[in-house]
């Protein structure tokens, strides 16, 4: 009797026999990774000026654009609140901006149901170009030429780094769909 190849019943997400997806991993990982992104102030990088991109927000964008429907429409409320606790922004700015972003993407998706990565990047860039100046204005730091000059490098860095974040999210998405739960 011929035997099957040992990898025959496996795919990139693990064994197809006796294993299934874990709901905790599949639904928890997006939330967890966005919250980790919001924790960048605890990185051992101490910046005299705002230079790092808003990683939590970019993670949210990447997850939302990669997997529509995975994050509920109200996800901006808890995730924004968590981001506010650490970002240094006045409490509520993340809640507002995260919620508005999710609603905006939802409306955009009705207009463009099928999208390519380039359109995703364009969307993310447009949202970041609005998000960073608005966040700077409502941070209470005052809006002037100096503040504007500070934002521009951060903005360019954020837009350029978005594909990297999207790539990380795509890898996390594969991890998310691993079949890890044993069916007995």
């Amino acid at each position: 009797m011929e035997t099957l190849h040992p990898k025959a019943r496996r795919d990139p997400f693990g064994s197809k026999i006796n294993r299934t997806h874990s709901p905790i991993l599949a639904y928890g990982l997006p939330w967890l990774s966005i919250m980790l992104g919001s924790l960048t102030p605890w990185l051992p990088v101490i910046a005299p000026a705002p230079v790092l991109p808003p990683l939590g927000f970019m993670m949210l964008l990447a997850w939302r654009l990669l997997r529509p429907g995975l994050l509920p429409l109200w996800a901006g409320l808890p995730l924004g609140l968590f981001d506010d606790l650490y970002s240094g922004q006045p409490l509520g700015s993340g809640v507002l901006l995260f919620s508005l972003t999710l609603i905006a993407i939802e409306l955009l998706e009705i207009r463009f149901p099928w999208r390519t990565f380039w359109l995703d990047w364009l969307t993310a860039a447009a949202i970041l170009i609005v998000y960073l100046p608005v966040a700077a204005v409502i941070s209470g730091a005052g809006a002037g030429i100096v503040q504007l000059r500070v934002i521009v490098p951060q903005l360019v860095l954020s837009v350029v780094l978005f594909p990297v974040v999207a790539r990380i999210v795509a890898q996390l998405d594969r991890l998310r769909l691993m079949r890890v739960r044993r069916i007995s």
């Binding site: 605890w42 051992p44 409320l77 409502i138």
Partner: protein, 301 residues
């Protein structure tokens, strides 16, 4: 990727209502954000407890990271030392820089001594540090410049205390948690420190510009006496910071003062010292007067 099919509701009444409810909840979330934002802009101290608690939860990880930062730095420096003498050079340069700042501070002290010789019976005493802490992290993408240190209420830290590094003033404590505190860095646009030129009594205010530099504004307008390279130290006005802590060095001259470079770059700072409020009774008296600002930094006449 295409949106999932369950959002194309068709004539399914229940699905339509579900989708509508999603929009309503998200809209309410945004409104809730507006409400929170209004409260926190009008009364910034409202959510202190919440943030301090969150900072306490995350601080152990940050502390480990901070230890790793210095650890890895010395590790790589050791390796680099074998390959190039440049790292040694960099270290010496750093030492020279500190020595130069010390020299300016000593000069300021000498000045201060001469000025105060006449004032008899005035005892400043030694400032005993309240706590020694690590600078764990700082806000990275927000316009506000707020740092986190690894000492809180349990170490006796209270809001308003100056935070000082070996190279100069870093900021002052804004909120305290049990084991960590938030520090308003000097470069934050809300930060204002009374300073004077180390060599004479040209007094000014150092305001943060959120881009890593400070804006010096002279108190006595007239002919601007500042020259690039002048070192500014705290003047002690307002009672919050003790005099003669190095703050900044003037870089370019403006109409009413100068743009100054921060002396204690927080990025290069690891261990900081939390000092007591210099003139606590005076600051508290100011803070309790309803007419004065809560910051207690009213310029003296």
């Amino acid at each position: 990727m295409a949106p999932p099919a369950h959002r194309r509701t068709g004539t399914n009444k229940k699905a339509q209502m579900g989708l509508f409810a999603g929009y309503v909840v998200a809209g309410l979330g945004a409104l809730f954000g507006v409400a929170l934002l209004t409260i926190s802009l009008l009364r910034p101290e409202t959510f202190n407890g919440l943030r301090a608690m969150a900072a306490d939860v995350a601080s152990p990880a940050g502390e480990a990271g901070a230890a790793g930062r210095t650890g890895s730095q010395s590790f790589f420096e050791a390796i680099a030392g074998y390959y190039r003498a440049g790292s040694r050079n960099a270290q010496l340069e750093r030492e020279v820089e500190i020595a130069r700042i010390r020299l300016a501070e000593a000069e300021a002290l000498r000045q201060e001594n001469a000025r105060l010789k006449a004032v008899l019976g005035l005892d400043f005493g030694d400032t005993e540090p309240v706590a020694v802490a690590r600078l764990i992290g700082s806000t990275s993408s927000s316009m506000r410049r707020i740092g986190y240190i690894s000492a809180g209420r349990s170490a006796g830290v209270t809001p308003g205390m100056p935070v000082v590094s070996p190279t100069g003033l870093v900021g002052r404590v804004l909120e305290t948690g049990a084991r960590s505190s938030r520090v308003l860095l000097l470069t934050d646009s809300e930060s204002m420190v009374p300073v004077r030129r180390a060599t004479d009594n040209t007094v000014a205010f150092a305001e943060g510009r959120s881009d890593g530099s400070l804006r010096l504004r002279l108190v006595n307008l007239g002919i601007n006496p500042i020259k690039p390279g002048d070192v500014f130290v705290t003047s002690g006005a307002g009672g919050l910071f003790r005099p003669n802590i190095a703050v900044a060095v003037a870089r370019e001259i403006t109409r009413d003062g100068a743009i100054a470079q921060l002396l204690s770059n927080p990025a290069a700072t690891d261990v900081v010292v939390v000092e007591p409020i210099w003139q606590r009774p005076a600051v508290e008296a100011l803070a309790s007067t309803p007419a004065s600002t809560a910051e207690g930094e009213v310029p003296e006449g």
